[in-house]
Amino acid sequence: MATKRVAIVGVGYYGFRPVSPEVSFREMIYEAATRAYEDAGLEPKDIDGFVTAGEDWNEGHSIVDELAPDQLGAVKRPVFTVNGDAMHAFVSAYMHILTGQMDICLIESRSKASNIKNLHEITMMALDPIYTRPLDTSPYFIAGLEMNRYLYESGVTREQCARVVIKNRRNALLNPYAGHGARLALDDVLNSDVISYPLTSLEISPHSDGCVVMILAEEKKAEVIRKDPIWIRGVGWCTESYSLERRNWSQSVFTQKAAEMAYKMANIRFPRKEVHVAEVNDEFAYKELQHLEALGLCRKGEAGHLIDEGATEISGDLPVNPSGGCLGVGNLLEATGAQKLLEIVLQLRGEAGRRQVKNAEVGLAHNWRGLPTNSGAVVILSNF
């Protein structure tokens, strides 16, 4: 296992709003990077390596790696692109620092979802071309089927899922960077259009544009760079069955495995007690509950009780998605995981303003790559 400690020493972001006509993707990245460098007190020449996360079809450009270096100050430097979530870029940078060949790495990921005219069709193109694509229907059918099965097996109710929407979008009102804050009532959510039964339209995260840049440093340099480095305690990532026909339709198995890996590294035995704040993928409202169970933050079928009891409110004993989550901040495509990391960093630094979770010392960031994938990651951070 890793012996060297690595910390997050700088964060910068732009966003997150439903549209961003005032900036191109380059200008967005440039601002986020500028802010990250400023936050860390570093310059591009101090960075040993750069990792970005992006997918060709979401950017409308084949080989998105081509577009990576300029806005980051990374021209003629080591740069590569992970076609995955920002958390994949994050763990890649982390591993590269652990090798000892690099000491300081930067990661970047962004969303310009507002540029995409046909996101449904693009998601359909991610389905198996022989077995699934010919069904020629909205990709949300996968979420609807999974939600149905999850509710059936867990005993979680539609009302409890709707409460996730209410909680997260209300949290987003406290969050200056969240693009979709709202005060909603239970009926608003339950009566919104059924997209793929039992999933309703208000249970689906809207998209946002934005960019997140983070700088990681090995221990000695981290302690020089800032007084409050945020330490990486554990990481895990996993991909389960891509095939719809072979996957587990009620549980997020990749989350269980990624969490086990991360908890083991972080030496966490009782996650519910040892994790003080969590940012968990809630791209579809039921997902927050399904993921909480898979993360071992509650027992199977208990996630619904957590939300009913208010345990996952900012003032509760296990605040989940104080930022507003995907539902309140917006689905940021490949940058979604970066937003979750960002929020945990801000929480652990005590920079989360009105949504600050008190005495947060250990935070967990989790993300799922979204439809139609069965992939995601978990990162555990601490401020000590």
Partner: protein
């Protein structure tokens, strides 16, 4: 730094149009690599996939689609793409997993099925250009790289005949490669008389679009010697990306390849590459690229690579064999798999397992290099036994 070795390798045939699905291609290569060192998926702790362009296979987020075929079910899995540099970078991304200390056994797979892209895979390359400033011109990859070829040849005072020697050598080398698509016995005249695609690129100056996959197994020091008698150690890795704005760059010399090479040489402790590197697999999608890359890798003096070729130095029985596999020109070019094929070739050569392609003299140190994005990135791996 923790030591990491390649302990197994496998590749499919490279063909113009495979009947296998992309998932099946990935599976075949992965299975061959595992079989080659007597391991199974149970032993593998993590999987890395390199695949250059979604538009070829015609699947968005194709890393997810390919994950099962690459052996990733239930494991930590990631996919990366640095365009044409991907296949060599796959080795580097895998190296990170093991050298970090987090994993002991990593399976690295590279796959590309270009023939899915209709009416011709070249069409996918229309979308690698700037959507506002360049795409309306309907740029073709061959036309753009032809400009680089022209810069290189004019700067170094080369004729088509000088460069054509690379195609001749590599296609002939490929006749001895069981997976090769483009092996042929041709002459310099054949090359310079072949159809001009875009001046100065002749048809026989370029490799072809292909389908295929390759895979390697990486092991930590603690396991490598238990798995095989002859682990091939990853001595150095390097990668470097230049500016997107190719229209402002000097195309005659890929400085980013030199920087990637220097990064790898530094890690490997190599001070005199021309003396210390025994065999080289530089990226050769076009004949001139082998020459240009050799110079940027500091393995040939500036402007002198063509002369080395003419003198036979880069032949299999020369002082510094270059592309003993047959390269992309001879074996084929399923982008990411092609570059990983080069890593496989060095692996086999250093173990004395390259059959009819074996270079004499017991080579101990080899270098594989790839090139990608918008003529923009260099990826380098140095292997040692």
């Amino acid at each position: 730094m923790r030591k990491v070795a390649i302990v197994g390798a496998g590749m499919t045939k490279f063909v113009r149009r495979a009947l296998e699905t992309p998932i099946e291609l990935a599976y075949e290569a992965a299975k061959m690599a595992l079989d080659s060192c007597g391991l199974t998926l149970k032993d593998i702790e993590c999987v890395v996939l390199g695949s250059a362009v979604d538009a070829f296979d015609g699947v968005c987020m194709k890393g997810e689609y390919l994950s099962g075929g690459a052996g990733a079910w239930g494991k930590p899995f990631m996919r990366h793409s640095v365009g044409g540099g991907t296949g060599v970078f796959s080795c580097i991304h895998g190296w990170m997993h093991v050298a970090s200390g987090m994993f002991d056994l990593c399976l690295v797979v590279a796959e590309e099925k270009m023939s899915c892209c209709q009416p011709h895979p070249q069409g996918a390359f229309l979308t690698v250009y700037d959507s506002i400033l360049e795409r309306p011109l309907g740029l073709n990859l061959l036309w753009v790289v032809a400009q680089e070829m022209n810069h290189y040849m004019i700067t170094n005072g080369l004729k088509s005949e000088d460069v054509a020697l690379v195609s001749v050598k590599n296609k002939r080398n490929a006749l001895d490669h069981p997976a090769a698509m483009l092996g042929a016995d041709i002459t310099v005249e054949d090359v310079v008389n072949s159809e001009i695609i875009s001046w100065p690129v002749h048809r026989l100056d370029i490799s072809a679009t292909s389908d295929g996959a390759a895979a390697i197994v990486l092991a930590s020091e603690r396991l490598a010697e238990r798995i095989t008698d002859k682990p091939v150690w990853i001595a150095g890795v390097g990668y470097n990306l230049d500016t997107w704005y190719w229209t402002s760059r000097d195309l005659s010399y890929p400085v980013y390849v030199e920087k990637a090479a220097r990064m790898a040489y530094e890690m490997a402790g190599i001070r005199e590459p021309q003396k210390e590197i025994h065999i080289v697999e530089p990226y050769d999608p076009f004949s001139f690229k082998e020459l240009q890359n050799l110079e940027a890798l500091l393995l040939a003096d500036r402007g002198k690579a063509a002369q080395l070729t003419a003198d036979g130095v880069t032949a299999r029985d020369g002082n510094m064999p270059v592309c003993p596999s047959g390269g992309l020109l001879g074996v084929g070019n399923p982008i990411s798999a092609a570059a990983l094929m080069k890593v496989c070739e060095i692996f086999w050569q250093l173990r004395g397992e390259a059959g009819k392609r074996q270079v004499p003299g017991n080579p101990k140190v080899g270098l594989a290099q790839a090139w990608g994005d918008m003529m923009q990135t260099g990826t380098v791996v140095i292997l040692k036994v």
